[in-house]
């Protein structure tokens, strides 16, 4: 797939979202009728009740809206970050900020989306601080 915005025929279903993520595309929805952005995927626009959703590829940048460090014993893997990130398109999602210590993740921090391929989650949407260089497979 070259550009998700060229593929308006794609059904606005959650299955499409996962299929595209597998291909390395993180997509959100845009309503051509009321111009709202939506995440997670819906079957029709819940803002204007129109069947007018298209997929778009967001810029992939945003900021940490809130964050918590989940404390875990070192032998179980140690502490980790859970954040809510607000994308510049205005939608939010739960995620994790990587590349810095979990305690160093701060509200307001600018972040950039990456798609991480791990054993447990082959296509995991994560974020890194915007001023750090890309690591591994990133959102291109």
């Amino acid at each position: 797939m070259n550009s998700p915005t060229d593929n308006k025929h794609l059904e606005p279903s959650v299955q499409t979202y996962w299929e595209q993520l597998k291909l390395g595309h993180f997509l959100i929805q845009h309503c051509t009728s009321c111009k709202a952005h939506l995440f997670y995927p819906r079957r029709f626009c819940i803002h204007c009740t129109q069947d007018s959703l298209e997929w778009i590829k967001p810029k992939g940048t945003g900021f940490v809206y809130s964050t918590t460090t989940v404390r875990r014993k070192p032998e179980a893997g140690g502490d980790y970050d859970v954040s809510i990130v607000e994308l510049d398109e205005g939608v939010r999602l739960m995620s994790t900020v990587q590349g810095v210590a979990p305690e160093a993740v701060k509200i307001g921090m600018r972040v950039r989306l990456e798609i991480l391929k791990t054993e447990s989650h082959p296509n995991k949407v994560v974020f890194i601080a915007e001023d750090t260089p890309p690591t591994g497979e990133h959102h291109a």
Binding site: V14, Y40, Y65, S66, T67, T68, T69, V70, R71, Y80, V82, I84, R92, L93, M94, S95, T96, E103, I107, G108, H121, K124, V125
Partner: protein
Amino acid sequence: MLELNLRGQVSIVGVGTAGCGEAPGQSELELLAMASFNALKDAGLTLKDIDGLCTANLNAAMWPLNVAEYLGLRPSFVEGTNIGGSSFIAHQKPAMLALLTGQCNAVLVCYGSNQRTSTFSRRERGQARNLLDPNIFDDPYHPFDPPSSYALMAARHMHEYGTTRRHLAEVAVAARKWAQLNPEAFQRGPLDIETVLKARMISDPFTQYDCCQVTDGGGAYIMTRSDRARDLRKKPIHILSNETAVWHKSVANMADLTLTPSHDSGPKALQSAGVSIQDIDVVQIYDAFSINTILALEDLGFCPKGEGGRFVEDGAIAPGGTLPVNTNGGGLSCVHPNMYGAFATIEAVRQLRGEAGERQVNGAQTALINGNGGTSASSQSTSVLGTDITL
């Protein structure tokens, strides 16, 4: 539209608890049943009088059937809505309508959980629930819920309004001081602000003291029309209003992490009750986490948005403070068997009857109860209760 004035038309006539704290070997139905038995004795009623049933459970999708069968009830009114721990407050308005339209004459609201001592562990239950109802967009990040979701709300509140961990600790310590006056409370040991601040983090900014307990317990209460309530054993406590608001499920989809559904249900409940915030003598807030109390005080209108932390400073909601909040010790220190709504209601009734012993708020005539449900203040339900004087 049918115009019904619900204010004071329905009363709570019996309350009961059972197995609060630890009740090893007892099933959830047994805890629910013994709480119901105690509520019936309190009201001077028998099961034969009950023709309405409100109940919910986290493990059984058709739980009203389990309860109706166990108690031998054949209710003509059933309310089994489960919107989390606020359910047992949110059940009030449907029950009031059913009572006032003659669909039934006496409603039993009941709950029981053995989550603390059950051999089926909380972890296993959580995994089973997640298998049936996964949060596919959140699960890959392993939020330690519910603490992490409420921690995200607390972190945002701290960022926007300068709320501090010390403010959160004030809530936990106030709850503990009330619990020390309540023989039924599970956690009655000493607790001070420094201990909370120095405790190990669970999900920042929360330590264990910011999180509700994991206890067993059953809670039940009985509602009838107020005219009938006058002939029963105890002084009736009238329901002046009940309003519910449901906003979201996951914290990631909460529009503003510092604004809770009480912002809707609270003002509506006060308006329907015809009272102002200054008329409230005692407050029972579902304190799943320390931040809940701060958010509710703001969204209900006890203080402006953002001022909740400063509002609770210097023991303001503790015994001897300016506003008595969670006088049984709340979910933080009294009892929290997974869903707490019934227990907030029961404590409000005991306070308004003048049965609260050492923790009695002198002359309390009007109480506000605020239920919370879901893993991120997803649903909330507010009621105003009053004695005869308030009618």
